[in-house]
Symmetry: none
Subunit: 227 residues, 2 copies
């Protein structure tokens, strides 16, 4: 992933070309998908810093696509391209988690500015910290794992590990990745320590059989949320 990579999903050939071309001129790396399906599989292939979705797309619209991508990464900032006159309420509903939108027609300067602001803001803003994990609500900031009446206090490190999984729900997470992200480096003992944490988290999550931290032997783990 380059420093500033963008996933553009736009069905209009002309607008798509112009946007991609201009953003690349300004130093962004842009992958351009023509429809929602293509966008989703591109996203699964590699991560991006920001998504730029036209709301009006054939088949899978921008909002549906956004919902699915949110399932893969709760953090990723999404900038919607909307047509003028669209009902504000529908857009507002999507402004959760730092999403934003830009209305057609727009100038390149405007778009680039919005992207810059967006990237800066999201890079230093504390990310939303409530996760829904099956029947549990995981409140990272307050180190709480809540199921109905019952509150389980977490330690900082337990919360860090669980957050890492929650941010990568359904994805394979390599031991190495978690260790580097949370412990800072990766050696045998830290690996064993991680196993102790996984064990603890599993015991916390036991009350909901729909959640599972699955091991992939020799690789890492995967947080699975069954429907």
């Amino acid at each position: 992933m380059s420093e500033r990579s963008i996933l553009l999903v736009e069905d209009d050939q002309n607008l798509g070309f112009v946007v991609k071309d201009n953003l690349e001129l300004r130093g962004f790396h842009v992958d351009w998908a023509r429809n929602g399906e293509e966008g989703l599989s591109a996203y699964k292939n590699k991560p991006y810093n920001i998504c730029l979705f036209d709301v009006m797309l054939p088949q899978k619209d921008g909002f549906s696509l956004a919902t699915e991508i949110r399932g893969l990464d709760r953090q990723i900032p999404i900038l919607f391209v909307t047509a003028k006159g669209m009902q504000e309420d529908r857009i507002e509903g999507f402004k959760v988690g730092g999403d934003d939108y830009i209305t057609k027609p727009f100038s390149m300067e405007e778009l680039v500015y919005r992207i810059e602001v967006f990237l800066k803001r999201t890079s230093q803003e504390r990310q939303p910290s409530r996760y829904q994990l099956g029947k549990f609500t995981f409140d990272y900031e307050n180190l709480l794992l809540i199921k109905e009446e019952f509150k389980q206090n977490l330690t900082q490190k337990e919360a860090d590990v669980l957050k890492y999984f929650a941010d990568h729900t359904g994805q394979v997470v390599k031991r190495e990745s978690i260790l580097k992200a949370i412990w800072g480096e990766d050696d045998y003992f830290m690996g064993r320590s991680l196993d102790v944490f996984i064990s603890k988290l599993r015991s916390y999550l036991k009350p909901d059989s729909a959640i599972e931290i699955a091991n992939l032997h020799g690789v890492g783990f995967k947080l699975i949320l069954n429907p």
Copy 2:
């Protein structure tokens, strides 16, 4: 002059942008000057509710600027942004009236909290700032913690700490956040001093078992009000 207008003088492009953008997101009006001269002429142009000056500026530094602006308005509250490790005495010397300072690096939450407290303190419509904490009434202005017949006098700092908790009831408050908000910075001894205050506050609050200042090991504290 809008209700909450801020003059920001900051030469660092990135920090300046981020601070301006974030404060605007939170409803402040921000004018951003890149150096002292620019700041001074902006100030002459229109009045502000609060000034936010980086101490280290090219040419005219934050203190000189402050001195000149004091010549125009002896009341205006000034919040200095200082680098860590700067000699306290130099800052102290410049702290006139209600001035204060914040040490880099700081989070937006910290900055906004400081500004809010600052504005509240200096604004005419001083709100009564009474809090209901279980069976206690906490009167911040008058430094009183009252339960039925019994009145406990608080010191200013005790009241500051308790107010910080009251403003964040039920939330995890990091040691670092309290220290930066109330002491100005965060070192080992200030941390221990905070512990002494917590201990004292706990003893004051003991008569009501529904209130608890809980410790989160290695993280901070949480004021819990049980129903």
